[in-house]
């Protein structure tokens, strides 16, 4: 086995979106979409990033790729800090890090044929043209399981799963080493989800890709990831390898999240005891003081509403932000 190498290091990343109001467009508040997030991704692994809607997981993915510039924090990709790079330097680095988008309907330009969509990244970076480009596009389409004869077709002629394959082919065209998969399957039907997940896994094995896999579906994240980070209201509350996270979840939110995931097994389902959380995720404009989870936490103590818990390593490679969990 090759030695473990850190490909991406995210340090205390924050992204606050200003809310402007009044007729002069003053900033009146901020959506704290990502509020102090740190983690590392090793080359060749898949890190799952899971959480409910509005927890900031997609924003985290976009800030890592600098599609949104962060409010604070660092993103070290192969030891280079992306947050300090000029637009041009970033542009030159883009081939190494790509993104697969959630919505296969919106992320493909409706007026471009498939051949152009898949070949565009190569044209942008001046890597190929003419016959070589055509051959590469055909190769990519077959790699993702599409008929290479479809190059002249337009996106609206394809089904959702096929469009997602087109999106994957486009992301792969530049031979990236790192791909952010932003809920790549949540818009797809179950039978198609499996196709896409299998394809992503095959491609990872074949091309040695590193994934940040963002999803709200805990069972799918568990299936594809080596390690999993759980987000809640802009913060990571727990991060561990998948076995540990599912066998011994330490954070009360992780525990309830796992218990809420339905299992397609009637006998087991009837026996399962659920931790049912009350209420819903509060607004990230005015997150609760102290621990952001405390208003819904079934085991919160007085301290939780006052002091923000430290995100720390409590077991080897197991990080938690909770007052009730003591480092072992």
């Amino acid at each position: 086995m090759a030695e473990k190498e850190t490909l991406l290091r995210v340090i205390n990343l924050r992204k606050h979106f200003p809310i402007t109001g009044g007729f002069l467009g003053r900033q009146v508040a901020a959506v704290k979409a990502v509020d102090g997030v740190s983690f590392e991704i090793e080359r060749g692994e898949t890190l799952g990033l899971v959480g409910e809607s509005g927890c900031g997981k997609s924003t985290t993915g976009r800030v890592i790729l600098q599609l949104y510039r962060p409010t604070a924090g660092q993103v070290l990709f192969e030891d280079a800090d992306l947050t300090k790079m000029s637009a041009e330097a970033l542009r030159r680095l883009r081939p190494k890090m790509q993104m697969i988008f959630q919505d296969p309907y919106a992320s493909l330009n409706p007026r471009h044929p498939v051949g152009k969509i898949v070949g565009e990244p190569l044209m942008i970076h001046g890597l190929m043209q003419g016959k070589a480009l055509q051959d590469r596009v055909a190769e990519l389409l077959e790699l993702v399981g599409l008929n290479a004869a479809y190059v002249r077709r337009f996106p609206h002629e394809f089904s959702g799963g096929q469009r997602q394959r087109i999106g994957i082919a486009r992301a792969l065209s530049l031979n990236p080493s790192f791909i952010v998969c932003d809920e790549p399957i949540s818009a797809l039907d179950v039978s198609i989800q499996a196709q896409v997940v299998n394809l992503l896994q095959d491609l990872q094995a074949q091309l040695g890709l590193t994934y940040l896999f963002i999803a709200h579906d805990l069972s799918m994240v568990r299936h594809i990831s080596r390690r999993i980070a759980v987000m809640y209201l802009g913060k990571i509350v727990e991060l561990a390898d998948r076995q540990t996270l599912f066998d011994e979840p330490l954070h009360p939110y992780t525990q309830s999240l796992i218990s809420a995931v339905p299992v397609p097994n009637p006998k087991l389902e009837r026996r399962r005891q659920r931790i049912i959380l009350e209420g819903e995720v509060p607004s990230p404009i005015n997150p609760p003081k102290g621990c952001v989870f405390h208003p819904r936490c079934p085991v919160a103590i007085d301290k939780c509403s006052r002091v923000e818990p430290q995100y720390q390593q409590v077991r080897p490679q197991h990080f938690v932000a909770c007052h009730l969990v003591e480092p072992a």
């Binding site: 467009g25 976009r62 790729l65 599609l67 970033l90 542009r91 030159r92 883009r94 081939p95 790509q98 993104m99 988008f101 959630q102 919505d103 309907y105 919106a106 992320s107 493909l108 330009n109 409706p110 007026r111 565009e120 990244p121 942008i124 970076h125 479809y150 077709r153 609206h156 002629e157 394809f158 089904s159 096929q162 999106g167 486009r170 992301a171 065209s173 530049l174």
Partner: protein
């Protein structure tokens, strides 16, 4: 273990597997146009007006400026006292109304076309900058646009026209400038919509520069809504130009324009009503045609409609 049989040819699984030639696609568009008869009517009316403007010297039987006081106020051919020499009759100075109507298309289309060209260009630039740059620049442009659009439009056009005086250039400039905010607003809205769309984010993430994003992704997706808007606005300008002419504020009185003809005909309304009738009908049919055409274009050019098929 049973093996999978190849599907019989007639049972296509997906319409994707049905090969379509260019001719078939064209036929599909044709059927679409035919299904929407009113769009067809609009297109025909519009083409008639354009043809009249292009071939005015060939079509019109008389010089539209030639006065012939002996033949003044002759009613249309199908009225008593009318003659086939003057199909739509003559005006108070004995000029052939039919010829003047034909030549009037030139003024209307010139004002409409160049007015829309100026308004569209200005609006496109302003709207695109506002939508693409955003921030303070956006606030300023949006503020300006909202301001102009919340003013009583007609009153202002009349006010400006009365200051500037009568000339074709002035009329074109007035409409070109006062109408630009509408194009700016639509352009900005579309640019924002397109910019927020996934495919722009996708283009940025593969390293596209601004130039490619603007010219290859945003502009082509803007053209549909802008062409539709241009059709409606051109119709509106033709309409308002006639209105200005009616108040004596458009092109100089010697130019055969529908508005001028209306203004002149107003004086002879009771004695020779046809002088005012025909230019009004001409405006109506032109405007009708362009509105129908615009409605049809809106349906056809909207890729959102095509996308919703699935």
């Amino acid at each position: 273990m049973a093996t999978r049989e190849p599907p019989p040819p007639q049972a296509a699984d997906s319409l994707l597997d049905v090969e379509r030639s260019f001719g078939q696609r064209l036929a599909y568009a044709g059927r679409f146009l035919w299904r929407d008869r009113s769009g067809m009517i609009g297109l025909v009316l519009f083409l008639v007006v354009v043809a009249a403007a292009l071939f005015a010297p060939q079509i019109s039987p008389y010089n539209p400026l030639a006065q012939n006081l002996r033949d003044s106020k002759i009613p249309p051919a199908w009225y008593q006292g009318g003659s086939l020499d003057y199909l739509f009759g003559t005006d108070n100075l004995g000029r052939d109304i039919f010829s003047r109507i034909i030549y009037g298309t030139r003024v209307s289309l010139t004002v409409g076309f160049f007015g829309v060209l100026i308004a569209g260009t200005l609006g496109l630039v302003l709207g695109a900058i506002a939508g693409y740059v955003g921030g303070r620049v956006d606030s300023i442009i949006v503020g300006g646009v909202n301001m102009v659009l919340s003013l009583p439009y007609l009153l202002f056009v009349v006010f400006i026209a009365s200051i500037l005086g009568r000339s074709l250039i002035n009329v074109i400039l007035i409409f070109g400038i006062t109408d630009a905010p509408i194009f700016a607003r639509v352009t900005r809205g579309e640019v924002l919509r397109i910019r927020e769309s996934g495919y722009i984010e996708s283009a940025i993430s593969v390293g596209a520069r601004s130039g490619r994003i603007i010219f290859d992704h945003i502009l082509p997706n803007l053209i549909g809504p802008l062409i539709t808007l241009a059709t409606f606005e051109m119709s509106r300008m033709i309409f308002y130009e006639a209105g200005l002419g009616f108040l004596g504020l458009s092109v100089p009185p010697t130019v055969p324009s529908w508005g001028n003809m209306l203004a002149a005909g107003r004086k002879y309304l009771t004695s020779s009503p046809w002088i005012a009738t025909f230019p009004g009908l001409a405006i109506m049919f032109t405007s009708l045609g362009m509105n129908l055409l615009g409605d049809w274009l809106r349906d056809v050019l909207d890729p959102r409609l095509r996308r919703s098929r699935k």
